[in-house]
């Protein structure tokens, strides 16, 4: 990752002939990563963990995209699940109803990448799925534009309330859609597009969407999201924002261009949230219903961004991964001391002098976690019940103890073991 990172920092060659290669390379890397996880990792871990793997990817998309708004621009959106819902329902409806129109059923018509090797490599079904995800993303982006517009006038916390209100409106409207989803081709044939748009399953949720989502698609989109987020962070606007985001007055003094950038950040974040919604809608084992996509889901994503570090892309991605796995881990908590030991050694290597205090803190945390684990086992308490309580508590403690989140605006590789701490990838005043 470090070498790729170094390449983006270096000025790109001006020669027209090679520029396209530089923009293509990261994309190829993204495809390679997705393929590796899909063909390499998936067979080894079984269906349950494959689902966790997909959930991690979807949450990475959500957290990293929300970070574009909350981490870079100093705005604060707490309605990200609303964009996810817009994208998810759009994608689900397109796939479902188009499948009926084209094939007369809503079964899987995907190929290898969608988990049906018998159908060949890339099929019309795959195209439909990807297309409907992109369409979901686009509609979410339109919604993002509308919601982002007030950011031209409103201060951060007011805007937060607008996004929350938007998310709630989306949720209620979806709940009011018709709960009768036709399951016969003949019924679907008779429906107009407008009618289809109104039959979204209501409070019961949209069921019957074919399960196209696989680790390949999830991680392909996740990798693209990461790439775009890095590009934004490294753009001149991104850097300007990171250096002033805590001072709205200064931000305003920088003029209209930055306010426009705020709206654009909103649109971009909404687009990826919409795609994440599309992937979620086509995933096996998930329920696409309005209750799942209320403001509690938005808060989940906010927690990932805040804990990982507002402005840190890798931090948000890491937090998304950890918080996705954590509920499973909490169900039967393993010993944490081996991990604690590794972390202590690592910290001592990264920062030799200041590391001593950090190592002591880590040791204390490790001991405390072991104590909690022992107490839970002894009392027969299921720690998974306490998941949200723990998240919430860590959010509050984090704000008091380390308000910038785990990594602040830095990236994980800005902390190098066996050497002095490198300057942040983005210089921050």
């Amino acid at each position: 990752m470090t070498s790729a990172n170094a390449r983006w920092v270096a000025p790109r060659p001006a020669a027209a002939g090679t520029t396209w290669l530089y923009s293509l390379l990261p994309l190829l890397a993204a495809i390679a990563l997705a393929a590796a996880l899909h063909f390499g990792l998936q067979p080894a871990i079984g269906p349950f963990r494959t689902n966790v793997l997909m959930n991690i990817g979807i949450n990475v998309i959500l957290a990293v995209s929300l970070n574009i708004v909350n981490g870079f621009t100093g705005q604060f959106s707490i309605g990200h699940a609303g964009f996810m819902a817009v994208g998810g329902y759009t994608a689900a409806a397109i796939t479902y109803y188009t499948s009926f129109r084209v094939w007369g059923d809503a079964l899987m018509h995907g190929g290898v990448l969608s988990g049906v090797p018998a159908n060949g490599w890339l099929t019309a079904g795959d195209a439909l799925f990807v297309g409907s995800c992109l369409a979901g993303g686009l509609l979410a982006a339109v919604a993002g534009y509308l919601v982002g517009l007030p950011s031209l006038r409103l201060r951060g916390d007011y805007l937060a309330i607008v996004t929350l209100g938007f998310g709630e409106i989306v949720r209620v409207l979806l709940q009011q859609s018709d709960s009768d989803i036709p399951y016969l081709a003949a019924d679907v044939q008779r429906m107009s597009v407008w009618q289809m748009a109104r039959h979204l399953g209501g409070a019961l949720g949209f069921s019957g969407v074919p399960f196209y989502t696989t680790p390949f698609w999830v991680w392909l989109f996740a990798a693209v999201t990461l790439l775009v987020a890095f590009r934004v962070k490294r753009s001149s606007y991104g850097r300007a924002f990171l250096s002033i985001r805590e001072d709205e007055t200064a931000a305003e003094a920088m003029g209209v261009a930055l306010t426009r950038f705020k709206v654009r950040a909103f649109v971009l974040a909404a687009f990826f949230a919409g795609i994440a919604g599309g992937l979620f809608a086509h995933e096996i084992g998930t329920a696409l219903n309005p209750r799942e996509l209320g403001f509690m889901k938005s808060f989940d994503i906010v927690i990932m961004v805040v804990l990982g570090g507002m402005g840190s892309i890798s931090g948000a991605a890491l937090a998304a991964a950890i918080l996705t796995i954590l509920p499973e881990v909490l169900r039967s908590p393993p010993h944490v001391w081996p991990l604690g030991l590794v972390a202590i050694v690592f910290v001592l290597m990264v920062r030799r002098k200041a590391g001593r205090r950090a190592a002591l803190t880590l040791a204390a945390v490790t001991v405390a976690l072991e104590a909690v684990r022992a107490a839970a086992l002894w009392q027969g308490v299921n720690l998974a019940d306490y998941r949200m309580v723990l998240y919430a508590l860590s959010l509050v403690v984090m704000m008091i103890v380390r308000p910038k989140g785990l990594f602040g605006v830095r990236e994980i590789w800005d902390y190098r073991p066996l050497g002095r701490r490198r300057a942040a990838t983005v210089a921050v005043g």
């Binding site: 209100g165 906010v302 509050v396």
Partner: protein, 308 residues
């Protein structure tokens, strides 16, 4: 005509509760300029504490005899406990962040909200199941107006809310303490130079805001008889509507919060009665967005320029 009057009665009853909750939001925003998300949770705790105390002293739902004395005891217990809760929240979570960027305080508030909400759902606290509230207050049709029954309970709810609002209005505008609160909300450092104990005033603000929310919780549980769970489906949503009321009325403005509460009650219930009953949340949040876009200072708020 009957429908219109009935809707009016309902919207005033619920609107006055929104107003009572909105007071807490608006006072904290007026002084510290942040949205105290945890205020909804104090409201929830107020309702559930009322339930727990009511069951303890009144026995189970069906058998309980209405008793004003018991109801008052329940109300006061809920208010005192929630006052203490509000005090603790400010002390532990917000005070360490007095100098921090506003965004961090907002995140902390969300954290505190999630914490209380999820803690409440644990089975050794309030549990995740809805519960019936014992009927502590007498209810009977009081009089009929053009075919609409005005119930005693509605009158009690609105009356209690009105008394509490007047009390609060008097505290803020008629006492020395209130003068201190208004001074702190204008400028904390200048207030400090006048000898106003800023931290104590902030604590006090949280305490009385939380007391008002607890009273609203008690009244809501008494009026609607059931206590719903999970919290984010009901209590938090109600609290958010109260916040909308505060914004609509003009955030930071005490009288605006009361007016906004009534207004949101009217919008919600008339929308539900005459347009579509399922979209009541949509009306409220649509009003919020419209107000923020076209009159961000609210109805009674004056437009203020951000201090540079």
């Amino acid at each position: 005509m009957t429908k219109l009057l009935q809707t009016l009665v309902d919207s005033i009853a619920v609107g006055s509760l929104y107003g009572l909750i909105a007071l807490g939001y608006t006072m904290v925003y007026g002084i510290l300029q942040f949205i105290n998300f945890a205020h909804s949770d104090v409201f929830m705790v107020g309702a559930w504490l009322s339930f727990l105390v009511a069951v303890r002293i009144g026995g189970q739902t069906a058998t309980v005899e209405p008793s004003v004395a018991k109801a008052l005891l329940v109300l006061l217990t809920a208010m005192v406990c929630c006052g203490a809760l509000g005090f603790t929240i400010e002390r532990l979570a917000y005070r360490p962040l007095r100098q921090a960027p506003r965004l961090n305080v907002l995140i902390t508030a969300i954290g505190v909200s999630l914490f209380i909400e999820n803690l409440g759902q644990l089975k050794w606290l309030f549990g995740a199941m809805p519960q019936p509230m014992p009927r502590l207050l007498p209810d009977r049709p009081l009089f009929a107006l053009a075919g609409v029954n005005v119930n005693l309970l509605d009158v009690i709810v609105v009356g209690t809310a009105a008394v509490l609002m007047l009390l609060l209005n008097w505290i803020v505008f008629g006492t020395k303490l209130g003068r201190g609160m208004r001074a702190v909300s204008y400028s904390p450092p200048t207030a400090a130079l006048m000898g106003v104990p800023v931290s104590r005033i902030i604590s006090f603000t949280f305490v009385i805001g939380s007391c008002a929310a607890a009273a609203a919780g008690f009244l809501y549980a008494t009026k609607y008889i059931t206590l719903q769970q999970p919290a984010h489906e009901t209590w938090i949503r109600l609290g958010l509507k109260a916040f909308v009321a505060a914004v609509v009325g003009g955030i930071g403005n005490i009288r605006g919060a009361m007016l906004g509460g009534l207004l949101i009650g009217l919008i919600e219930f008339f929308g539900a009665a005459y347009l579509s009953p399922n979209l009541r949340d949509v009306y409220v949040f649509a009003v919020l967005i419209l107000v923020l876009l076209f009159r961000p200072a609210g109805i009674l708020g004056r437009a203020t320029v951000e201090k540079v």
